[in-house]
Amino acid sequence: METSTTMDAVQAHEHPRLRELKFTLVRIFRNPSAVIGVVLLSFFIGVAIAAPYIAPPKYAHAPYKMPHKGFSPTPKPPSERFIMGTTSGQYDILYGVVWGTRTAFKIGLLVVGFAGLVGVTLGVVAGYYGGWFDEILMRFVDIVWSIPLLVLAMTIVVAFGRGLENIIIALALVEWRWYVRVIRSEVLKLRHQEFVQAAKLMGVSDRKIILRHILPNSIYPVLIMGSMDMGSMVITASFLSFVGLGAPRGYADWGQMVALARNYIVGPANNPLQFWYTIFFPGICIILFVLGWNLLGDALRDAFDPKLRRR
């Protein structure tokens, strides 16, 4: 541009994609909530990676099984041996919280990954081609919308038994419906955009149009939603664990640990906060984890908002 020669000189040696990425990152990190979100999530990622060092597993073949010393139902307060104390059944709270971080990421990534992949693929195809495939798919999605999560989860657990993977399946089976709708509406908007029409005129195949023109312009709402969903999936999984549909007893999972502490949320009458540690540590982890993803999602939304992005 003739007018911004000074800017050109600065930017000349940078690859444009890098410049674009920088621009987006600057936008994201101008937002204080994004910084908090990223700090929280980096903390959890750090914990998840360093889990074997923070809390060395007792059984190498099954690290997610929480070690427990004894079977006493009464929790024990933090001590030198158990820094965060033990919960009902004498499970080590620290161990559960640390390995539970890995479980949380596992749930979030698997559910969002599956739902996103299925949802985006179906949504793009339906939105781009339209016609009967779109009609049938969307009616099918309507049917899926009518399935309550709890009923589905119970059915699956009854059929296949209690286990984390069954919860993940149940969540993924209902979650993809969101992605289909969001991406389809984006694609419908883009389908008639002039740059897509121009590509058609040049004889570009549908597959290339989708990959080059449609997806890069419609994927952002999905990223934002995926980020928000990472948190909400973990909270839903915790809830299912809490009601007894989730991970089996003794599995390192925050929901499971809250479930174990169910009877000790309120202590004896003279000291109601006696067992605070049983509920506090797993509880705060769930809250911060969800908060982190939500703040990040919020910041992404601001950063990708096309109205704010360019002058």
Binding site: M1, T3, M7, R311
Partner: protein, 386 residues
Amino acid sequence: MAVLLTAQDLTTNFYTYEGVVRALDKFTLSIDHGCTFGLVGESGCGKSVTVRSMLRVIQSPGVIEGGRVLFSEQAGTDPIDLLELSEEEMEGIRGDSISMIFQEPNAALNPVLTIGYQVAESFLFHRTAQMSTRICEKIDGGVSFGLLTPLYRAMLSIAAKSPKSRFLKACSRIPLLRRWDTPVKDEAMRRAVDIIGKLGIANPEEIVTRYPHNLSGGMKQRIVIAIALACHPTLLIADEATSNLDVTVQAQILQLLNDLKKESISSILLITHDLGVVAETCEKVGVMYAGTLCETGKVEEVFSRPLHPYTQALLTSVPKFHQEGELQSIEGSVPNLVYPPSGCRFHPRCPKAMEQCSIEKPELKELRKGHFVACHYAEAQVGGLV
């Protein structure tokens, strides 16, 4: 001729992520009573920002940094500075003494309200007191408004004095009492029908009951004009009012504006990028470039003997009926106003640029009678007022 509106050193900045956009830089302009003034310039040169600053409807992140906007409604009276009025006083001026027509009639009309209501609203907002007095006089003269006449008389005499009083607002919540303004509303509706009829729309009684989506583009623009004209403004600002319309409809609207000006409005400020519209409808013209006024004067004068290189280039770059040879274009593009060029903002694209141009910002000077130019080159050529 008496001056109606003057903008002096108006400066408006937009604080965006990219930096401070210096949209208006010491902008100076004056409009006379009874004059049709055309403000032309390319998109992004600050035409709309100018009027929005003058009416103080700049949206965030825009901030009016300085200057004065002097407005004297009656010729000869002391001007008031619009930038110093309170927001409430400004509301009384917008839509009353100064009103505005926007480019997009669809955005200016509310799709869920009837045409009649939207036109009448303008009367209700600005003319409740006047209409109340009129109705009180009628009641005193023996005209009956049905059973509630005594109530109307009592309430309207309050409304005649202070139409926005708290008491009346409170009354509007009480059953029966809240019907005090029925005669005023009826009167406003009658006036709405009246003014729509005056704009050359067939059966206005029927039109007032319709909704905007029932009308065509040209018709909607007429309604917008009706709303703007409702209170007989002294200045009508038309911001690209005909740009989105077809040639034949544009011809209708321009003719309408011309007729109206003779009858009811004192002055029109026409903002457009179409030089043809200015040439055909305006008496005076101001040419804007990148937030500054480069040249202003009588249309015939400016268009036939332009002094500023930008005006000259602009005039040779539009196709004409008698086009000879190739169209000349201006090299380069409009500057990014985050980094405005130093000195004269046109100098990087100016074929006549001198050394001085990049250093010193030229002042607007009267180089011929009534013909003001802000250009060092023109100044050197003409050499002051001839």
